[in-house]
């Protein structure tokens, strides 16, 4: 594990399907219908069913754990949900890609900035984590 400033972590890529969103609704308790009903999603102005912002952030969490090894090392993390991840009703779904790099190291804490995209478009803003190194 390198904690040098500028170190880039191995990018992670995750598929997201409608079935994943249904599973996540049950696992998290968030049954907001915009995450499973096209009818409701379009009625509130969305292009269709969108992933829970927290689904995308969970993928960020998984990428961090893949990079740092132990979830207990993550002191804080978060993001702004800037663009919806639209998940089509087909077998392939869509993809979320997560990359990250070390932007600072101080007092045993590393700052990590992440880039999270869906089909090449940034979907999260201010995606940052602080990790004990």
């Amino acid at each position: 594990m390198s904690w040098d400033v500028g170190h880039e972590f191995e990018p992670q890529s995750y598929a997201v399907t409608r079935a994943d969103l249904i599973r996540y609704a049950g696992a998290s308790g968030d049954f907001n219908p915009i995450h499973w009903s096209d009818r409701v999603a379009t009625s509130v102005g969305l292009p269709g069913v969108v992933a829970h912002g927290m689904y995308t952030l969970a993928l960020v969490g998984q990428a961090l754990v893949a990079w740092v090894g132990d979830p207990a090392r993550v002191e804080s993390f978060g993001a702004r949900f800037t663009k919806p991840v639209v998940v089509p009703d087909d077998d392939e779904g869509t993809w979320v890609d997560v990359s990250g790099r070390v932007t600072g190291v101080e007092d045993g804490l590393a700052s990590v900035e992440l880039t999270v995209t869906n089909a090449g478009t940034k979907v999260l803003g201010m995606t940052k984590a602080t990790v004990r190194c």
Partner: protein, 137 residues
């Protein structure tokens, strides 16, 4: 419906104690493609949202708030964790309104949920901004 500015700073009653099971951790991990640690006893990093979401849902349903979930967009989310959630933890979430702001027909509701074990140990603080389209119910 604009929200009452007096809600700022208000602290709501804690959620009912929630006991974390290995099965729930596995279900959450499988849904989010997350690796399991400690024989499946350690929850994925965003697991505390289960408790925080309950606290947010209870706030939205409060008399005088009455916001429907479908009219709410999650603006941002941040976690500060003292330690990961583990199987066997019994957790409560106490939500407080940090800020309220109206802009472009939206209510921006800044919330903070302190997630503690029933023994009083701090596990995590979850910060969320909820964006409510004021035109909706």
């Amino acid at each position: 419906m604009a929200l009452d500015p007096a809600l700022t700073g208000r602290v709501f009653a804690p959620t009912a104690p929630y006991t974390v099971s290995r099965e729930k951790i596995r279900e959450f991990a499988e849904a989010t493609r997350s690796a399991l640690f400690g024989d499946g006893d350690v929850a994925p990093l965003t697991f505390p949202i289960v408790v925080a979401f309950q606290a947010m849902a209870e706030f939205l349903a409060q008399p005088g708030v009455g916001i429907e979930l479908r009219h709410v967009v999650h603006g941002d989310q941040r976690f500060e964790q003292s330690r990961p959630v583990r199987a066997g933890d019994t957790l409560t979430g106490t939500l407080q309104i940090d800020s309220l702001r109206a802009a472009a027909g939206m209510d921006m509701i800044g919330t903070r949920t302190e997630i503690l074990s029933v023994e009083g140990e701090h596990v995590c603080t979850a910060y969320a901004t909820l964006v409510h389209r004021a035109g909706g119910a």
